[in-house]
């Protein structure tokens, strides 16, 4: 967490979701309420559910989990004539390398999410909501459970919410540590007690999701944004951001940055501005490349520092806004090594359901290992590109596609460095201790 007051470009920031993060024990319900927390819930409960949907639709809120699908529209897909129960599922399985926004949010201010859950569930007429949290973050799971317990005690959820006759059960469910369970249909399978693997679509979750019932699945940040929209109005929200990317969002800066952390700003801010807030690249170094939205988004270069970080702006540079996880790497970094580490992650996390992702990542890792060790073989780089082409758009779910982005984009910008992998180990070209953030002195030989 970064205290924005210490940074220079304070004016650019729009702390809404992060506004109370610095408060004393911000995660307690009393402290949240003192800041006006749960007032949006009272407002929403005075409205018709369909009105709530309209407000969110009008606000222009788009999914903060990466794909950017309009949240209100997703809600309106829920068939209201379906006799089955409707479910709200919050995707809190934040596992993308570099992405760090949902977990700090739930850690600092879980009630922002819980209030959002209650309003959103009310809007889609769901009586049961699930928060599927990444299993490894036990501290967050406990904090969230505690927050839900507090909300029950306060009458914000459970039977007859605030005396309105609306019933809502909220269940915090810890996953077992699988990246694939961030894929929404795999998440549903996991939530149902099965192995997390993506489902065939159609049917889409809006029609047959959890327990074959209409289900809305939203990212933590999307749901957490809802109370502020209800409180301040759709116009307030859409006054921020750019033409098609409305509102504020949390950018997380990491890597070779002087003051890494979360920065909440309107969509469309640039990395140059954000770096200004974060004190720039670590002293004495310069930016080499960066990811706009986690390791699954094609990397960008210093020349893209002024690209507006909204859905359209980043897409125009053949990348994706993704989760707004801005990983910055300075000139000490070996691209080959970074790409290898990411690819090892995808290999480890491939669910195994479809061939291209399962076998492709197994293969890619072996080639990248060779290149890192300076033992690349003739044609390896073209082979990497061709294998990526054979995975991209051929795998069952988007996570297979994501595994190829770092490789093909890195080769696009740094082909020379890969060529050097034919003869020189990466640790000789880029002594690894130099890129280590926390160890200032040479740490001896590389692993």
């Amino acid at each position: 967490m970064t205290d924005p007051s210490t940074s220079s470009g304070q004016a650019v920031l729009t702390p809404v979701l992060t506004a109370n993060w610095g408060d004393e024990r911000a995660w307690k319900i009393g402290n949240y309420e003192r800041r006006g927390g749960y007032s949006a819930l009272r407002t929403a409960l005075q409205m018709e559910p369909s009105e709530v949907v309209s407000v969110v639709k009008d606000s222009g809120l788009r999914g903060r989990g990466g794909a950017g699908f309009p949240t209100g529209m997703k809600w309106s897909f829920i068939p209201q004539d379906n006799p089955k129960p409707k479910y709200l599922v919050v995707n809190a399985d934040e596992s993308e390398p570099g992405t760090c926004k949902d977990i700090p949010l739930m850690m600092a201010s879980p009630h922002t999410l819980v209030e959002g859950v209650i309003i959103s569930a009310y809007a889609i007429r769901a009586n049961t909501a699930f928060i599927y949290v990444r299993g490894e973050v036990l501290h967050v799971v406990r904090r969230l459970q505690q927050a839900v317990r507090e909300a029950y005690s306060a009458g914000y959820c459970g039977p007859n919410v605030l005396g309105t006759g609306y019933d809502l059960e909220i269940i915090v469910h810890a996953g077992a540590g699988a990246y694939i369970c961030g894929e929404e249909t795999a998440l549903l399978d996991s939530l149902e007690g099965r192995r997390g693997q993506p489902r065939l679509r159609p049917p889409f979750p809006a029609v047959a999701g959890l327990y074959a019932s209409p289900t809305v699945i939203n990212n933590v940040e999307s749901i957490a944004s809802v109370p502020s929209i209800i409180r301040n109005g759709a116009a307030w929200f859409s006054s921020m951001g750019t033409e098609k990317s409305k509102g504020m969002t949390i950018y997380s800066l990491s890597g070779h940055v002087t003051n890494p952390g979360q920065f909440e700003a309107p969509l469309g801010i640039t990395l140059r501005e954000l770096l200004g807030l974060a004190g720039g690249i670590r002293e004495g170094h310069e930016l080499k490349f960066w990811t706009p939205g986690g390791s699954s988004t094609p990397i960008l270069m210093p020349e893209h520092l002024d690209v507006p970080l909204d859905y359209e702006g980043v897409a125009a540079q053949k990348s994706m806004l993704g989760t707004k996880a801005l990983q910055c790497f300075d000139e000490t970094t070996s691209v080959v090594r970074v790409v290898l580490r990411w690819t090892e992650f995808y290999k480890h996390e491939s669910c195994g359901k479809c061939t291209p992702c399962r076998e492709g990542t197994w293969w890619l890792v072996q080639i990248l290992h060779r290149l890192e060790a300076g033992q690349g073989q003739e044609g390896d780089i073209d082979k990497l590109l061709d294998l990526c082409e054979n995975i991209l758009g051929r795998s069952f779910c988007a996570l297979g596609d994501g595994a190829t982005s770092p490789i093909s984009s890195a080769i696009k910008y740094f082909r020379d460095e890969f060529e050097q992998g034919m003869h020189t180990p990466a640790w000789e070209l880029f002594p690894y201790e130099r890129s280590t953030v926390f160890v200032r002195e040479p740490a001896g030989a590389q692993a």
Partner: protein
């Protein structure tokens, strides 16, 4: 691009089909094709002759889209817009106006497929030269047709120790697996036995079982057949032969009345394996493990190859002419002495229609008797009347397809999973796909019933008729003309049941189908192997029926009186009143009272036995005439539907003679020729005779039997045959036998409690149940069955070494005294698995052996 605007470019059928409203027209590789709505693109492409490569896709399994081999390009999804990514054609439904480009016309699709194939092969061992599947392998074939000649993979493959036995029968080579999930989906969807599942993830994903639960399914062998690579192999066939050395002959399974199509693969005169045939109207593409693996029964030391004649009390080999002369002489003496009234013919239900017809004609025309019975199992006069009135000569009745479209199905005295696997699979399919409602009159809801969504009507054996007579009032369930009543052979022993079935059908309009257990049962009914029936459903009692047959056969007169049934014949044999018996294909231990039956065979004055293997009958015979195995003869089975299932001889065995051929020779020796020597001629004669068109035999009108009144400590016996039990057909096949379900006795919780059983907190009990009557006793481990009817005890009819008939000679509905004895056992694995079935084939009856030992332990515990 509408159906009518353009003349069809396909066959003329397309135009006719286009008239149907639910047709969708799309263009695949520039060829327009019209297919029913909901068709998948991969199958629409097949219609224009384009085979898109695939692994996970299987027409009888739900689509999954996992292997990504069948990618195609879709420039127009039918809405004018293309789909940017290549699409899996096995999950994509056709749409009106859709344009699809397969590998034939799209470089993108072609590259996607080649790339995917390359991925599949990087972790595949490419050990085709030593793989069972090599030569018939979809991976091998499609790698040739849709893959690169050379791989760019120069790296390290994933390897595993091999193989893993996922059951005694099925072995898994994990490194060959392409993870298409066909086997796991089959087990879950089709068989309902989700004992195997994909575990782990990424490239380490693999098929696995729960530690202590092997792949215990009656249908496990199907996974081997649908595996598109050599990952699943059978313990029995592994490394035995190569597909290209095999000769395949289509055939029909001899193990149940389902008429399942099979393919027999043989090499140099020896059957190497059996596969499921593909018959959409009958067994689709599935068979039971018994159909698949139980074919070695003719390979033991007990196989009879030469005729035997008894001399000085000992059987000795004899030549065919001598044996036939001895048999003819003995039969002639018996016939002459009694004018045919004191001779009998017992013919098991395992023979072909033609063989059964030969026995029927031999009994009537040669021996001059109506004492012939195919029912080598508990039977009754009511059943004979039922068969005469409602089954014989009725042709094809209820079919498999009818089960899928039935409004409801009521099962009476039938456990389809145990007795008729193909019916079970259809009922499960109908339940899964159409929501078929079914009920079963049974003492407890078996696993098979649960898997077919069948509702239990808890019934103490003996109460069936009462339930049926009060059906709608008692259950609140209405049957209608779309309903089907399936009644099994066990109904014969429960007085009034068969009559009540016909009464219920009459009241509601529901249709009735009789489902026997054996492949030859229905054919034997049609051939007239019953004391009250002539061929074609002609009642013996009807003079014009007798005239009908006599004139076709060209004989002067027919025996007039109804003959004795099987039990009566053996009783009079035991009394020394029967002059001669001709016995073919009967296992006396299948009868209601094996001891009495053996006594009858012992005391019969002259016994001629036609058999394939030495048996309890041949041991007691005066003349033994060896006959051919099913693989060595051609013929026809009539399945439970009444559908004829002809099959050719698989193996050439010039010296082996079928029952029919032996009977013809015997008839010749007796001077009264049968008139045919080949099955074709026999069938032609039977068809010339045709079905009976006169008045049918009267419907049996037995009322419900008296319900059993158990005394203190007495319970009503419920029992049926299991799919895998102490059947002679399982001989020489230890891997299959090892997958049999453990033999247990079942009691309801209340009945168990009344016998002093305390169920532990974990729901488990450790106790033995002992059934006792004046004949003997039988002990089995107890399972407390929730939902079971009170006052009854269920035991398997013929578990190895635990035959109910042999130990107790009771039928369902009879009473036995029951005691329950808690016992102390050391913690043992619940079900032992062979450690290495390749090197250790001695895996037979492990569970049983353990049970026996446990009995011994208990005895000692009790004594000490």
């Amino acid at each position: 691009m509408t159906v009518t605007a353009k003349p069809s470019t396909g066959s003329t059928d397309t135009g006719r089909l286009a008239a149907r409203e639910d047709l969708v027209t799309l263009t695949i590789d520039d060829v327009e094709v019209s297919v029913p709505k909901g068709t998948l693109v991969i199958r629409a492409a097949e219609l224009i002759g384009v085979a898109i490569p695939r692994f996970c896709d299987h027409p009888l399994l739900d689509p999954v889209g996992a292997c990504r081999q069948c990618l195609v390009e879709v420039p127009d999804a039918g809405n004018g817009r293309g789909i940017p990514k290549p699409q899996a054609s096995c999950t994509l439904e056709v749409a009106q106006g859709m344009v699809v480009k397969t590998q034939v016309s799209s470089p993108v699709a072609d590259k996607a497929q080649h790339g995917n194939m390359e991925f599949l092969l990087i972790n595949h061992p490419l050990d085709c030269p030593i793989c069972d599947k090599g030569g018939e392998c979809p991976l091998q074939n499609q790698a040739m047709s849709n893959g690169y000649g050379e791989s760019r993979f120069t790296d390290v493959k994933r390897t595993y120790p091999k193989p893993v036995a996922i059951s005694a029968n099925v072995l898994l080579d994990r490194e060959r697996c392409v993870l298409c999930a066909r086997c796991t989906r089959f087990s879950e969807q089709v068989a309902g036995d989700p004992f195997i599942s994909l575990i782990e993830r990424g490239a380490l994903q693999q098929v696995g079982i729960y530690e202590r639960e092997p792949f215990q399914s009656y249908f496990s062998g199907n996974t081997i057949q649908i595996c598109p690579v050599g990952a699943l192999t059978s313990a029995e066939y592994r490394f035995r032969s190569r597909p290209f050395d095999l000769v395949s002959t289509p055939s029909v399974s001899e193990h149940d009345a389902c008429g399942s199509a099979i393919r027999v693969d043989h090499r140099r005169g020896k059957v190497m394996r059996r596969q499921a045939g593909d018959d959409p109207e009958v067994n689709e593409e599935w068979i039971t493990d018994k159909d698949r693996f139980a074919f070695a029964y003719g390979r033991g030391e007990d196989r009879l190859t030469r005729p035997l004649v008894r001399e000085d009390g000992v059987l000795r080999p004899a030549s065919w002419p001598e044996a036939l002369d001895v048999a003819a002489e003995g039969l002639e003496k018996a016939v002459a002495g009694t004018r045919g009234e004191k001779v009998g013919v017992l013919v098991g239900g395992r023979l072909t229609l033609e063989d059964a017809y030969a026995y029927s004609k031999f009994a009537r025309g040669v021996l001059g008797t109506n004492s012939i019975d195919f029912r080598a199992r508990p039977h009754s006069a009511e059943e004979a009347d039922f068969l005469a009135a409602a089954v014989a000569g009725t042709g094809r009745g209820v079919t498999y397809g009818d089960l899928e479209t039935a409004s409801s199905v009521l099962l009476v005295c039938l456990e389809p999973e145990e007795e008729a696997g193909a019916i079970f699979l259809r009922l499960r399919k109908a339940w899964r796909k159409q929501g078929l409602a079914s009920w079963t009159l049974a003492p407890y809801r078996s696993r098979g019933a649960a898997k077919a969504g069948t509702t239990l009507v808890p019934t103490v054996p003996g109460a069936e008729a009462a339930w049926l007579d009060s059906w709608s009032a008692a259950t609140g369930v209405a049957l209608d003309a779309g309903s089907v009543l399936l009644v099994g052979e066990r109904a014969a022993g429960l007085s009034g049941t068969l009559s009540a079935v016909l009464r219920l059908a009459d009241r509601t309009g529901a249709r009735v189908a009789w489902v026997p257990r054996r492949a030859g049962d229905r054919g034997a009914v049609e051939a007239g192997c019953l004391p009250n029936l002539l061929p074609g459903g002609r009642p013996v009692a009807d003079p014009s029926a007798r005239v009908d047959v006599a004139s076709t056969w060209g004989i002067g007169s027919m025996p007039r009186h109804e003959g004795s049934d099987g039990d009566e014949m053996l009783v009079s044999a035991a009394d020394g009143e029967l002059a001669a018996l001709v016995v073919g294909g009967v296992d006396p231990t299948d009868l209601a009272d094996p001891a009495a039956s053996l006594d009858g065979l012992e005391r019969a004055r002259f016994v001629v036995s036609l058999e394939t293997r030495a048996s309890l009958v041949t041991e007691r015979a005066d003349v033994v005439l060896p006959v051919s195995l099913m693989t060595e003869r051609s013929g026809t089975f009539v399945d439970w539907e009444g559908r004829r299932r002809p099959f050719p001889a698989v193996l050439d065995a010039p010296n082996a003679m079928s029952d029919l051929r032996v009977l013809a020779a015997l008839a010749d020796a007796l001077g009264r020729p049968l008139g045919f020597r080949k099955p074709e001629a026999a069938l032609a004669e039977l068809d010339e005779l045709g079905p009976w068109e006169g008045a049918r035999a009267a419907v049996p009108a037995f009322g419900p039997g008296e319900p059993a009144r158990p005394g203190r400590d007495e319970l009503v016996v419920a029992t049926w045959r299991m799919g895998l039990d102490d059947s002679r057909a399982l001989a020489n096949e230890p891997y299959l036998a090892a997958t049999a379900r453990p033999a247990v006795a079942r009691l309801s919780p209340a009945t168990a409690a009344a016998h002093g059983v305390e169920v532990g907190a974990d729901g488990l009990v450790e106790a033995d149940v002992t059934l006792t009557n004046d004949r003997g006793e039988l002990t089995l481990p107890l399972v407390v069955e929730p939902g079971m009817v009170d006052g009854a005890v269920w035991v398997p009819a013929k578990a190895p070494g635990r035959s109910v008939a042999e130990h107790l000679a009771v039928l369902p509905g009879d009473l036995v005294a029951v005691t329950v004895e808690p016992h102390v056992v050391e913690a043992a694995p619940r079900r032992a698995m062979p450690t290495d079935p390749i090197t250790d084939p001695a895996v037979d009856d492990q569970g049983e052996g353990r049970a026996h030992r446990r009995d011994g332990d208990t005895g000692r515990e009790a004594a000490s």
